[in-house]
């Protein structure tokens, strides 16, 4: 039975070991603790991938281990590992290499795992809070930097507000459904839902939308992304979003399948608004981290198109979208972290001018990332959008699909602008030589994005199976 929660156990024990090692060894052990953290996360990833198939409910219905959860957990773990790999050298150069950073990243990841496999509103809340609390701290991790402190405070205040909304929704649902378990709520919701349940559902969705950073709960995203240290921004844009979208998928398709009409309205609105804001908000940005913030809002909107369809095909589309989004985001941020001139990090788009003549491989792979983010075939980003839009069209959401494609066309403008700046503008100061880790992460992500169309079979098969399993569980 314990085997089904093995990744969580490995991570929890690993965190305690890391804390002990760090506390006894002091600041000198920061590098060792980071390596240990990467090892523990890798071990959890292996445990996650090799778990027995099928769905098992553990701890009296608080945690469920199923194919969907395993897939999303594996994605979050990959995001965390890549973050630590990118962050190690970056923090060391700035004298910020304390051992607490990897510990906090692991704590956030543990929160994500609890969140992704939650089968009960209480487990959902605790997972969310564990994840968020660690994220607030690492947003303000560079405490000498006023912008980082501002980012941390802003994220904390708004995040606390969103937790309040979520808890209010959960209490309403408990009051009207009489149970906190997802399956129990679904069983209570036969026939038309009462107003209280719909109220509670709306508040729950608002709380989760904060974590996914979708419109209208996106306002923190640009400021926090810009202010936080760049590796932390890379983390924010990757792993927590996957956890938040995973629990949203699970919540609505396991606990609220009976009132899919109600939540689909909410998702459709959030999705269309996010796509539009992501496309138009990013146009005027000069800071690449801010631009990536708007880009991530837009991408969350695209991913939710699949959920709006409300079918297994849609869920499969969202899972595929998040996989490809993770690869693209990590690749892009590896390039952004590598943007350093004489040891000073630069983050303006203008600093990329003429990159193709000073550092052609970096310019080429970053251009591939941008083309993929814009959704240009045959790169992976195109297939991600393809799967969610096909699901939306099969569900009859034609207007939404058309709006999405239009937003995607607008968004292509600012991605292509970066490519134009890199390839056709006069060269400025050249960047420092990036570390091998960053170069290989960028190149690896670039190659994955380029060759996805050759052999998409394995990923598609896994997502297909996991999405069917998730949706089957709910329909008796």
């Amino acid at each position: 039975m314990i085997g089904h929660a093995l990744p969580e156990f490995i991570l929890a024990l690993g965190i305690l070991a890391m804390l002990l090692l760090g506390a006894l060894g002091g600041e000198k052990r920061a590098w060792l603790v980071t390596e240990l953290a990467i090892g523990v996360l890798g071990l959890a990833l292996v445990a996650c991938l090799f778990q027995p198939s099928g769905a098992t409910v553990l701890f009296n219905g608080l945690l469920v281990d199923d194919a969907f959860g395993r897939f999303m957990k594996a994605l979050s773990l990959v995001g965390s590992i890549a973050t630590l790999l990118m962050a190690m050298a970056w923090f060391r150069r700035r004298g910020l290499d304390q051992y607490e950073f990897p510990v906090l990243v692991c704590l956030a990841t543990l929160g994500m795992m609890i969140l992704i496999s939650a089968d009960n509103l209480m487990a959902l809340y605790l997972g969310l809070e564990l994840m968020s609390l660690a994220l607030y701290v690492i947003a303000a991790y560079a405490r000498a930097d006023a912008r980082a402190s501002e980012a941390g405070l802003k994220y904390f205040v708004l995040g606390a507000l969103s937790s309040g909304l979520l808890l209010y929704g959960a209490s309403l649902i408990y009051g009207f459904a009489g149970t906190l378990g997802f399956a129990g709520i679904a069983a209570e919701l036969q026939g038309p839902a009462s107003l209280g349940i719909i109220f509670g559902l709306t508040f729950l969705m608002a709380g989760l939308a904060f974590k996914m950073s979708v419109v209208p709960f996106h306002m923190w995203t640009p400021d926090v992304y810009e202010g936080a240290p760049t590796p932390v921004t890379a983390f924010f844009a990757s792993a927590p979003k996957i956890a938040a979208i995973a629990i949203t998928l699970r919540l609505v398709s396991v606990a609220f399948p009976g009132i899919s009409g109600e939540w689909r309205q909410i998702i459709i609105f959030m999705s269309v608004a996010s796509m539009a804001l992501g496309a138009f908000g990013a146009i005027g940005q000069t800071n690449i981290k801010r631009l990536m913030a708007y880009s991530s809002i837009g991408h969350m909107g695209f991913a939710l198109v699949g959920l709006a369809a409300g079918t297994a095909q849609g869920v499969e589309g969202v899972m595929l979208y998040m996989t490809i989004y993770l690869v693209m985001t990590l690749g892009t941020f590896a390039a952004i972290i590598a943007m350093e001139i004489k040891g000073q990090a630069v983050e303006n788009i203008a600093d990329l001018a003429g990159l193709s003549s000073t550092n052609f491989p970096m310019a080429f792979f970053l251009a591939m990332m941008m083309f993929s983010l814009a959704g240009i075939p045959p790169l992976a980003g195109f297939f991600a959008k393809w799967y969610v839009f096909v699901a939306a069209i099969h569900a009859g959401l034609y207007v939404m699909a058309v709006l999405g494609v239009l937003a995607s066309a607008v968004a292509a403008f600012y991605y292509l602008r970066i490519v134009k700046v890199m390839f056709f503008d006069a060269a400025g100061a050249s960047f420092d030589r990036a570390s091998l880790t960053l170069r290989s992460l960028l190149a690896g992500a670039g190659v994955l994005v380029m060759v996805f169309w050759v052999w998409p079979g394995p990923v598609v098969a896994v997502t297909h199976h996991a999405a069917r399993a998730l949706m089957q569980g709910q329909k008796p």
Binding site: A12, L63, G127, A134, G152
Partner: protein
Amino acid sequence: MTPAVVFFYIFASVLCLAAFMVITARNPVHSVMFLILAFVASSGLFLLIGAEFLAMLLVVVYVGAVAVLFLFVVMMLDVDFAELKQGFLQYLPIGALIGGLVVIELVLVVGGFIATPSGGGHVQTPTPAAASNVMALGEVLYTRYFYLFQAAGFVLLTAMVGAIVLTLHHKPGVKRQNIAAQNARTRAGAIDIVKVPSGRGLEAAE
């Protein structure tokens, strides 16, 4: 009158009196003392209805920790309570409004409980029939919700690590006590015997 009823009236009247004194006492320290009396009296009431664990918890947590914290705040901080009490009449309508709302809520809650004592049939963890308070609580907290208990522990651990990361500064210029270095000092390294010629002072000897 059974002894339980007698004790109920004793505890209840002490509680009401103490609660009244909390808000009317002139000296804030007396207020806190009356608050402690109110806690003790209400824990007696809990004992009477058979909630012995809650009674002990009230004494341990509220008297032992919260009230002591209040006392610290009242005694350490120079708060001018006379100034705080000014404008009492001015804010009376708002206070009365909030008080009225609380009364209405109490009536609704108690009324609902009287109408359906079982809570409408939906109780996440019903009270077991033949188990003491402590056993029932332990069953829920450490067995049924063991997973959440551990997760909550990790949330607290995160809060602690986070607070230390964000606030603990090791400034280089600050002198700190190094006990090992203190203990390792010997007479040879610490004491310098100086012959001072009479009438010429210490400066001449160096």
